[in-house]
């Protein structure tokens, strides 16, 4: 009898262990599968053209060379110009940083008003903003082009910033509004009785509580704006193109031999900032979630 129980618990222990390891192995295989394209990109970017032509796609580089990276950064050809991704990369920085900050700040104020300073028609305005999130990019291209022309911002980085801010407000407002409805309204009431006004309550009570949602919104907005291609290609001209458009031009320039290593290096360079934001801000995101408990 006792033997039976003993062996039964033993088999269940073995079964549990097998299940656990099976799970790990499965997850490991999935991870490998997902990492494969990145592996191919990184290895290809470190090979010379000769090696790419003669070797296998999956093989590690025999001689590691960063030549493709330096070409991609400073001398690859986008159409007729051959100055690499560098100028466009800075265009994207000049575009994304202000656009993210402005749209996030406006979203914070909008969300604060809609969640904590109720006014007649607040629900309608919020619904309309929400609706704005669902309008496809393509629909606004033509009217937006006309607007930018009228405002004298056509083809400029300022114009692109404007487009991204306008398009982003719907999302940022939604994020902040949904976060602020979870903050007890009694806090705002208490501050009002204490004598604080609209902006003081925002600065001293609400914003210090908002780190987690700022991180979420910044990640979202930065990814959207940095990776955007359609607005970039539609509303920019030769000197103001963002990095995504330049990447497209490098890859599609079909003069002579296709330089796969340069293409791969360019794609990685263009993707690095979003990767960086996830790694850096993701940590704050988790920290913010655990430390920001309002009710305690």
């Amino acid at each position: 009898m006792t033997d039976n129980i003993h062996s039964a618990s033993q088999t269940s222990f073995v079964a549990k262990l097998a299940l656990r390891w099976g799970l790990y192995i499965l997850l490991f295989l999935f991870a490998l599968f997902y990492l494969m394209p990145l592996f191919v990109m990184v290895t290809t970017s470190l090979k010379s053209l000769d090696e790419i032509r003669t070797g296998s796609l999956m093989a590690l580089p025999r001689d590691v060379t960063f030549e493709a990276w330096s070409t991609a950064w400073s001398s690859a050809c986008t159409g007729i110009k051959c100055e690499g991704l560098r100028p466009y990369f800075w265009n994207s920085v000049l575009l994304a940083v202000p656009a993210v900050l402005i749209s996030t700040m406006i979203g914070a104020i909008n969300g604060y008003v809609i969640a904590k300073w109720r006014f007649k028609g607040a629900n309608l305005i919020f619904s309309l903003m929400l609706f704005g999130c669902f309008i496809p990019f393509q629909v606004v291209l033509l009217p937006m082009a006309q607007m930018l022309g009228l405002m004298g911002m056509a083809g400029s980085i300022t114009g692109l910033i404007f487009v991204h801010v306008v398009y982003g407000i719907g999302f940022t407002t939604l994020f902040f509004r949904n976060y602020y409805v979870t903050i007890p309204t009694e806090l705002v009431k208490a501050a009002k009785v204490d004598g604080a006004g609209f902006f003081r309550i925002l600065w001293e009570i609400i914003l210090p509580l908002s780190l987690p949602i700022f991180v979420v919104t910044i990640i979202w907005q930065f990814t959207q704006i940095w990776n955007d291609f359609l607005f970039g290609v539609s509303f920019s001209q030769a000197g103001t193109q963002p990095v995504t458009v330049a990447l497209n031009n490098i890859v599609n320039s079909t003069t002579g031999v296709k330089e796969y290593n340069v293409d791969m290096a360019s794609a990685i360079i263009a993707a690095l900032p979003t990767l960086f934001v996830y790694i850096v801000a993701g940590k704050y995101f988790i920290r913010g979630l655990t430390a920001g408990s309002v009710k305690g």
């Binding site: 007890p184 009694e186 806090l187 009431k189 208490a190 501050a191 009002k192 009785v193 204490d194 004598g195 604080a196 006004g197 003081r200 001293e204 009570i205 210090p208 509580l209 408990s293 309002v294 009710k295 305690g296």
Partner: protein
């Protein structure tokens, strides 16, 4: 002396929904006014209206002789303690308490003096550098009170401040609020759904139901002469016995006839009454029905009733019996000899009887 708070004909509507109807309340300096009623009766809304956090739809509000009807909360010279305490989570206790002073541009040195004074008064000196999340419920409660006290306002508003505390702490804090009121001589308006809190704290009680004031009076008035069946039932624990009965003229006064299932009706003779309709509801507090063995006196009517259930509660023993088709509670001494199912002699205190109109529920005056 001018009243510290005077509310006249106050109405509050949300769209077509009436939340408050024709509220008139006035309190003097040093009064402790308690707004009490079941949830949804509009008591918290009324408090928010007094604070200026909710605009009102009609009527006026005066604080310390000044019309405050359309004045913003910060200029009403009030301080408020909220149910959830509403402490600013990112600020230390000290910053929480002095925030109102800082906003009003009070000098740093004066802020510190006032903070030290309040911290001493509430015994929260060791907590000043902590954040709200590091405090227990009772400590947060003290800090919330400190934030109100430090401003030295004309009127304190409390919105169910004890309802988030456990039972033991609630009783302790209740006593402390009462002490605070006595020491400061401040004027306070306090919202609660707990009728015991209302009775123990108030100098004046407003009983509300469905946005309408049912009765305003001292705790003793509310307790002994409730103005209608709702107040009679709501205030007091266990609740007042409300027994349907027939009234019949009999010499100098009335006979009150209460039916009993399977027995002779109980007949009480009340000499005080001049006029009464034939259908009434008799109100009698549990403590006004005694054990005839221990209760002697002139105005007692002694009658034998069958004991239903006996519930010992330590200091008292509650005895339930059936009268007029209702469960009637009597509050007896702990050493009573009541035995379930046995007949026993009860003494009804005839001075304490209240009468209500069976149709309208309103109190019937004796003269």
């Amino acid at each position: 002396m001018a009243p510290i708070l005077e509310i006249k004909n106050l109405y509050k509507n949300y769209g077509s929904l009436n939340i408050l109807k024709d509220v008139n309340v006035s309190i003097g300096s040093g009064d402790f006014l308690v707004l009490v009623g079941p949830s949804g009766c509009g008591k918290s809304t009324l408090l928010n209206c007094i604070a200026g956090l909710e605009p009102i739809s009609g009527g006026s509000i005066e604080i310390a002789g000044q019309d405050m009807t359309h004045v913003s909360p910060k200029n009403r010279n009030i301080a408020m303690v909220f149910q959830s305490y509403a402490l600013y989570p990112t600020m230390t206790v000290a910053k929480n308490i002095t925030f109102g002073l800082k906003v009003r541009g009070v000098e740093k040195a004066e802020q510190d003096t006032k903070l030290a004074e309040v911290a001493r008064q509430l015994q929260i000196q060791p907590l000043l550098s902590r954040r709200p999340a590091q405090l227990s419920g009772g400590q947060r409660q003290r800090v919330a009170m400190g934030r109100a006290l430090v401003r030295d306002p004309k009127l304190f508003l409390f919105d169910e401040p004890l309802s988030n505390l456990d039972a033991k702490l609630r009783v302790e804090m209740r006593t402390e609020i009462k002490k605070l009121h006595q020491n400061l001589g401040a004027s306070m308006v306090y919202v609660t759904h707990d009728q015991i809190e209302a009775m123990t704290l108030a100098t004046k009680i407003v009983v509300m139901k469905g946005g309408v004031v049912q009765q305003i009076g001292t705790p003793a008035e509310i307790y002994s002469t409730p103005s209608n069946l709702f107040v009679a039932d709501f205030m007091g624990s266990p609740a007042m016995n409300l027994i349907p009965a027939k009234a019949k003229k009999n010499g100098t006064g009335y006979n009150i006839v209460i039916e009993r299932a399977g027995g002779e009706p109980l007949v009480l003779h009340d000499r005080r009454i001049k006029k009464l309709p034939s259908n009434v509801v008799v109100g009698l507090r549990p403590e006004d029905i005694g054990d005839a063995q221990y209760r002697k006196g002139r105005d007692l009517h002694v009658s034998s009733c069958k004991v239903g259930v006996v519930e010992p509660a330590g200091a008292d023993t509650f005895v339930l019996m059936s009268l007029g088709g209702k469960e009637v509670t009597a509050r007896l001494h702990a050493e009573t000899g009541a035995i379930p199912g046995k007949e026993m002699k009860f003494a009804f205190d005839m001075k304490k009887l209240s009468y209500f109109d069976a149709d309208t529920g309103d109190r019937l005056e004796l003269q």
